[in-house]
């Protein structure tokens, strides 16, 4: 399944309908951006400008909020987003080595997406599964108690 990243008219319409249904738009910028990222998968410039107009706030304010919060992304993620937990518990149990191993296998750094759009690596702050540290999640699947040797085998499932 390839992720559909096109900025289609239907998607903008869906976002507009969502905003129109809100009882109040004051203070709801973050809520609207959550929805927008949900619809578009990411928040490119066009989407930010659209949100600004719709909510009647400045584009600078929208940009300011998007860049402030780590949950919002202006770059599309890969089809398989590899989330490496970099929380303290995982760090102490060697998460950095795991992140390096993924980087080496895929040739991209943490925060980047591969050229074919298939993989991206994201560093997360604690998903709360510290008992399984170090932890990586890919989609719905969680891989726990990892060692660097296991990385190759994990990626086999997705290649």
């Amino acid at each position: 399944m390839a992720v559909n990243l096109e900025l289609t008219q239907e998607k903008f319409q869906e976002l507009d309908d969502y905003v129109d249904a809100l009882p109040e738009t004051k203070g709801e910028l973050i809520k609207v951006l959550h929805k927008a990222q949900n619809i578009f998968e990411y928040l490119p410039k066009e989407v930010q400008i659209h949100v600004a107009k719709k909510l009647k706030v400045s584009t600078a304010k929208v940009f300011g909020v998007v860049t402030f919060y780590s949950f919002f992304t202006m770059e599309p993620k890969g089809e398989y987003d590899i989330n490496v937990c970099l929380g303290t518990a995982c760090y102490v149990r060697g998460a950095e080595k795991i992140a390096e191993a993924f980087s080496k296998e895929l040739g991209i750094s943490v925060g980047e997406t591969s050229a074919d759009g298939k993989f991206s690596i994201t560093g997360l702050r604690c998903i709360g599964a510290c008992g399984l540290a170090p932890v990586v999640t890919i989609g719905e699947k969680t891989y726990g108690r990892l060692t660097a040797d296991m990385v190759k085998d994990i990626l086999k499932d997705y290649k």
Partner: protein
């Protein structure tokens, strides 16, 4: 219901669900139905049991059998042996590492023996998606008691008398906070629950919301009654999808029962709760920043006063408490302030939940009375250090805290003692590190975190944390000189004194406390250009010693082919080419490679 003779509880916390907990539940249900026992045995998905190290956990009641590390393949044996024939599945029982004996009753395990669960009282005991189970455990009785028999002032007095202090980090007396919020008149006031658990390595708030959401809802309503607010908001991390789902479901259930909404329990008191999703910013744990984020803005803090109690959400009086603080409230009202204040120490009453993590045998979520010593937590409950290594330090208070060492092990844990020791309670993350962890590198890890999470509003924090992490980078790469260490100290103090909010004011703590306790390690990095713990890759050297028999394994695994030597002869590592990946060190079976 009446026919049920057994309850099978399966942990439904994030940690265990990640490890195929859902499949275990499905398997159990279908296999129990196949065996025709579905009227006699109930399978329930509960909140976190806390013993995450051994998850997924399956507990069978009433005989209290505690199965650990259960896989979906194990369920058939549990059903056939335990549920049908009543024979415990020995191989799935927890084995006491000291006595090497299987223990089936969780109460007899060291991990649970010293715990006292107040905030976590229902976690791992009830089905969080069933309000009746919460009510059966005296749920909403405290709210009922408050709105029927108590005035707002007596509620506040009770909370004040209990001595409860904020569990989110600051330790401010909760009753006093409520009193401030009550003292301001306004047409609208707000109760906010801070569920933006940003401290990496702490997950108690998530576990409470997943395992016992109603306790937080009930407490927020009580708070609303006490301070005169009708609207509650939970600010929750978007990274916690399961907690969001369970909390929303619980709010809907409470509304259906009329426990939220207008005229609660016929008292005329009105209160309702909505969720606001955060978007990932550590600074939003600070209450003014949190309030700005709730208003849809960048989560930047503002100077206090005015405190939120006077001018908070949309400029109205607002009371902000964290999840664990709220979870204590219903019990305090039901059992009384005297009971609560009899637990713990004089100035830190009650219990505290800690997330034990790192190089410790029993990773998990624990709750102990305040005043328990670190030694009891780490050795008795935590089961000591992993792989028999030596204890080095425990980091408390997350990126704002400091580390405690061997000499602090017998210090009773409470708010004031931890501060006196140069650390802090924080939200309750406890990361244990062993001799193989490098302290300057650990400080660097935290500073990189605060640097990234600094909101950028004030200069000392925005630029200062960056400079600090650059200096630590120099230390860890062996490029620092003594003047850099002086610079680190001086800059740390400046940032502490001049930052706008708690994030900046506490950011240098990991540096100052590791410098205090492990000064010789810093010196080793700077003067001798070595890393005693062997973690900083630029400072370590792998050298082959006389044990080498020339098996060639190291030469084969070396990714840069810098190991040379004939078969059956001693090999040699070319230090100029070596990238210090450690692959040879890990693969060598003869202990022939030294890490220096």
């Amino acid at each position: 219901m009446a026919n049920e003779k057994m309850h099978v509880l399966v942990c439904g916390g994030t940690g265990c669900l990640s490890a195929e907990g859902e499949e275990i539940i499905t398997n159990l249900k279908s296999q129990i139905a196949e065996a025709g026992l579905d009227t006699e045995v109930a399978v329930l998905k509960t909140g976190c049991f806390g013993f995450c190290e051994k998850g997924p956990i399956v507990k069978i009641l009433p005989d209290n059998t505690f199965y650990v590390r259960v896989t979906p393949e194990d369920t058939e044996e549990i059903v056939k042996e335990h549920l049908i024939k009543g024979r415990k599945v020995e191989r799935l029982l927890y084995v006491d590492p000291d006595k090497n004996e299987a223990i089936s009753d969780s109460k007899k395990m060291d991990f649970y023996k010293k715990q006292m669960r107040i905030a976590l009282r229902n976690c791992g005991f009830i089905d969080p998606a069933n309000i009746d189970e919460y009510i059966a455990r005296d749920g909403y009785m405290a709210l009922g008691k408050a709105v029927t028999d108590m005035t707002p002032d007596t509620v506040i007095q009770e909370v004040k008398d209990s001595g409860l202090r904020g569990r989110g980090g600051g330790g401010f007396p909760t009753g006093l906070k409520w009193q401030f919020a009550k003292s301001y008149d306004a047409d609208q006031k707000y109760v906010i629950c801070n569920a933006d658990e940003g401290d990496p390595g702490a997950f108690m708030d998530r576990s409470i919301l997943e395992g016992d959401p109603h306790s937080v809802i009930e407490a927020m309503a009580i708070c609303g009654y006490a301070i005169g607010a009708t609207i509650g908001r939970v600010y929750i991390r978007a990274e916690y999808p399961l907690a969001i789902k369970r909390l929303q479901y619980a709010i809907d259930e409470a509304r259906n029962y009329g426990l939220l909404g207008e005229d609660i329990l016929g008292s005329g008191f009105e209160f309702d709760i909505e969720l606001t999703l955060g978007a990932g910013a550590f600074v939003c744990g600070e209450e003014t920043a949190l309030i700005h984020s709730m208003e849809g803005k960048r989560g930047e803090p503002t100077t206090k006063p005015p405190f939120p109690a006077e001018s908070g959400y949309w400029g109205k009086p607002t009371n902000v408490n964290n999840v664990e603080t709220f979870a204590n409230i219903p019990v305090i009202l039901l059992k009384g302030a005297d009971w609560f204040s009899s637990i713990g120490t004089e100035k830190s009453t009650g219990t505290k939940v800690f997330a034990l993590a790192g190089k410790i045998n029993n990773v998990g979520l624990i709750e102990v009375p305040m005043g328990t010593t670190l030694r009891e937590v780490i050795y008795d409950i935590g089961g000591g250090i992993k792989d028999g290594k030596k204890f080095k330090a425990v980091q408390t208070g997350g990126p704002s805290g400091g580390c405690l060492t061997e000499k602090d092990l017998d210090t009773p844990i409470d708010f004031d003692n931890l501060i006196a020791k140069g650390s802090m309670m924080g939200s309750g993350g406890m990361i244990v590190v062993d001799e193989e962890s490098c302290m300057p590198a650990m400080a660097k890890f935290y500073l990189e975190f605060t640097e990234e999470e600094s909101c950028g509003k004030c200069t000392p924090c925005r630029i200062g944390t960056k400079r600090l992490s650059e200096l630590l980078e120099l230390v860890c790469n062996g490029k620092a000189e003594m003047r850099h260490l002086d610079e680190l100290k001086r800059l740390s103090r400046v940032i502490k004194d001049t930052s706008l909010c708690g994030l900046g004011q506490t950011a240098p703590n990991p540096i100052l406390s590791t410098m205090e306790a492990f000064w010789d390690e810093y010196i080793a990095h700077v003067k001798d250009k070595t890393c005693p713990a062997g973690e900083c890759s630029n400072l370590i050297k792998y050298v082959i010693n006389d044990n080498c028999i020339g098996c060639t394994v190291c030469a084969k695994v070396c990714p840069v082919e810098c190991i040379e030597g004939e078969r059956k002869q001693m090999h040699l590592i070319d230090q100029d080419e070596c990238i210090k990946c450690g692959a040879c060190y890990e693969k060598c079976k003869f202990e022939a490679i030294d890490k220096k």
